[in-house]
């Protein structure tokens, strides 16, 4: 029983590094449609690995625990947009009929990142942009985002019970930590570049626009020694959103601050950036390679493995 569950879980963990929105079409851009955005400036990071607190909720013995640190290896270089997708770029997709219009209140001047967009909007844009460029663009996985964010990766406040007999201790601590995160709200979106580059030369990560990822929200039950996965229930109706801290939002939510938050502290604004697949089409062999490269292992101070 445990083994079977582990296989399920291992597959789910491997998916952390697998693109969820690969566009497999190679149809050329329709010349009669609205002009495509100028080619996006990208940063290509070398292949490497990232050890980060995995997204989702984790239970041990029925109690919430801190997310295990998982090591994910990216076997291929990661090409990611240097800036978040801009408002004017998104509006081209709207003009083309492929993206939902923005709320009238959303800033839309040239040079502004697009905000007020849902997961559904972001994936619609990625599909349109891929069609138009003949390339394959998608949202980053949470692991890829953490890899790209480097020193700006914020993680989330721990739900781990400080006192196993009193769940309220953790609730109160987490409340105070989240209150501290929100102490200086500055929700108005800023022009692209305002928050500067990180060490990888990627701009505006962990500014006041949070970014959608392709990683589903999920609840994972770990064994008592936290070395094995006993069960995983994924909820792909919500996805991990990365920024100053990680949170999870329901797919159709466009305004993170005013509600719809699945779990965690609401973000100021919701936007996104895309990563480019090295090839528009993945061969079956390539896909197998992807899965192999995405073998997830528990790492960190405890250096336990899942196998």
């Amino acid at each position: 029983m445990k083994t079977k569950l582990f296989e399920v879980a291992g597959g789910a963990l491997a998916l952390l590094a697998v693109p969820a929105a690969i566009v497999l079409t190679d149809a050329p851009a329709d010349a009669g449609r609205a002009a495509m955005p100028a080619p996006a400036a990208t940063v290509t990071l070398p292949a490497g690995s990232v050890s980060w607190p995995a997204a989702g909720e984790y239970l041990v013995g029925g109690r919430p625990v801190a997310a295990p640190r998982i090591k994910v290896t990216l076997r291929q270089p990661l090409e990611i947009m240097a800036y978040q997708v801009g408002a004017t770029d998104y509006l081209r997709c709207v003009a083309d009929g492929a993206c939902r219009p923005l709320d009238p209140r959303t800033p839309r001047a040239a040079g502004m990142p697009v905000t007020g967009v849902s997961y559904d909007d972001a994936t619609a844009y990625a599909a349109w942009y891929s069609r138009g460029t003949g390339e394959s663009w998608r949202l980053p996985t949470d692991a890829e985002w953490a890899y790209a964010a480097g020193e700006r990766f914020g993680g989330e406040t721990s739900v781990e019970a400080d006192d196993p007999g009193n769940p309220a201790v953790a609730w109160l601590r987490r409340y105070r930590e989240e209150a501290a995160l929100r102490r200086a709200p500055d929700p108005a979106p800023k022009p692209a570049g305002h928050f500067g580059p990180n060490a990888n030369g990627i701009y505006d990560m962990a500014g006041n626009v949070w970014e959608w990822t392709s990683t589903c929200y999920g609840r994972t039950v770990l064994s008592a020694d936290r070395s094995k996965v006993e069960s995983v229930v994924d909820n792909c109706g919500a996805h991990a959103v990365e920024g100053r801290h990680r949170t999870y939002m329901t797919n159709f939510i466009r305004d993170g601050a005013s509600g719809g938050c699945a779990v965690g502290t609401p973000p100021d604004n919701l936007g996104f950036r895309l990563v480019r697949e090295p090839r528009p089409l993945l061969s079956l062999q390539g896909l197998r390679g992807w899965l192999r490269s995405a073998q997830a292992r528990l790492a960190g101070p405890d250096a336990r493995t899942l196998s």
């Binding site: 239970l59 029925g62 109690r63 709320d103 009238p104 209140r105 007999g165 009193n166 769940p167 309220a168 201790v169 609730w171 109160l172 409340y175 105070r176 209150a179 501290a180 929100r182 102490r183 709200p185 929700p187 108005a188 609840r219 039950v221 069960s231 229930v233 601050a257 005013s258 509600g259």
Partner: protein, 367 residues
Amino acid sequence: MLTRRQALLGTAAGAMLVAAMPPLAAASVADTRNLPREKVTLVAPPHVHAHEQVATGGPKVVEFTLVIEEKPIVIDADGTVLHAMTYNGTVPGPLMVVHQNDYVELTLINPETNTLAHNIDFHAATGALGGGELTMVNPGEQVKLRFKATRTGTFVYHCAPGGAMIPWHVVSGMSGAIMVLPRDGLKDEAGRQLHYDRIYYVGENDFYMPRDEDGNFKAYESAGDAYADTLEVMRGLTPTHVVFNGARDALTGDNALKANVGETVLIVHSQANRDSRPHLIGGHGDHVWEQGKFDNPPAKDLETWFIRGGSAGAALYTFLQPGVYAYVNHNLIEAVELGATAHFLVEGEWDDDLMTQIAPPAPIMAN
């Protein structure tokens, strides 16, 4: 050319002409001359000035000062600015506490820096429109009013400068509350003594902020500039904000209310304009004076209580579990979308007997 300020002042002056000042009864001055006097320094809500729950000694004259301050305040995280009208600079104004048959002696100051005429109507007072007729002050004036606190309970006070100015001043933040305690303190339905370890004053306000054609809240130079547009929104009777303590999230995060397991908390809740229905998520109202009037026996074990617009109520609760509690207006649209949510952070020992999670979330078991 009549400026907006002159026009607004003119409205107030007109109201004052109608309200001919009756002479103060000389006899009552003699009645209170020998009473002990106490000068109270008011504190900003949700906190309440130190006070006795059971009065020692006989009635006294309790002196309060309210300084009216017109000032812009930010009412949500988007930075929406309300040109507020305030008593002592806070929305709501501070809670005053006296005992039955004390005399409330209020000095109401309208500094020259303000632009509008103001007054105060105490629902706890008898006569002269609650004192409103006797307290109209223009910028640069002050007035002193005394009234006898004959009835016990929690009562709203608010500005009521006449005509259309009344609702506008109230929805601009100009209200507060006074609590008149029985001299021998609070009693349960059987006449047994009740006591609170902490008291919080939650003033609820409904705001009506005009929007531009894109739906953004508009910014104005002054309260007067906002008046015409605000009146339009007010007439729709649909508030854009329903908040506790003057702003969305004013009683959450760093400013969340505090208590410990085993402590009894009295929550005084006022709404000067519109109905509300307080509810403590995960808790109850052990003893609730829904109408706020302590001569009536308190209702027990309430889940939600009703605060009529234009009144203040009081709920007594002893916290039994630690954790984060939300205190909301249980019209949940108002609580979540419009802002009427406060939080209590309660420290103490968890009671497994009261609640425990038998089986944590897990995949559904096949039968």
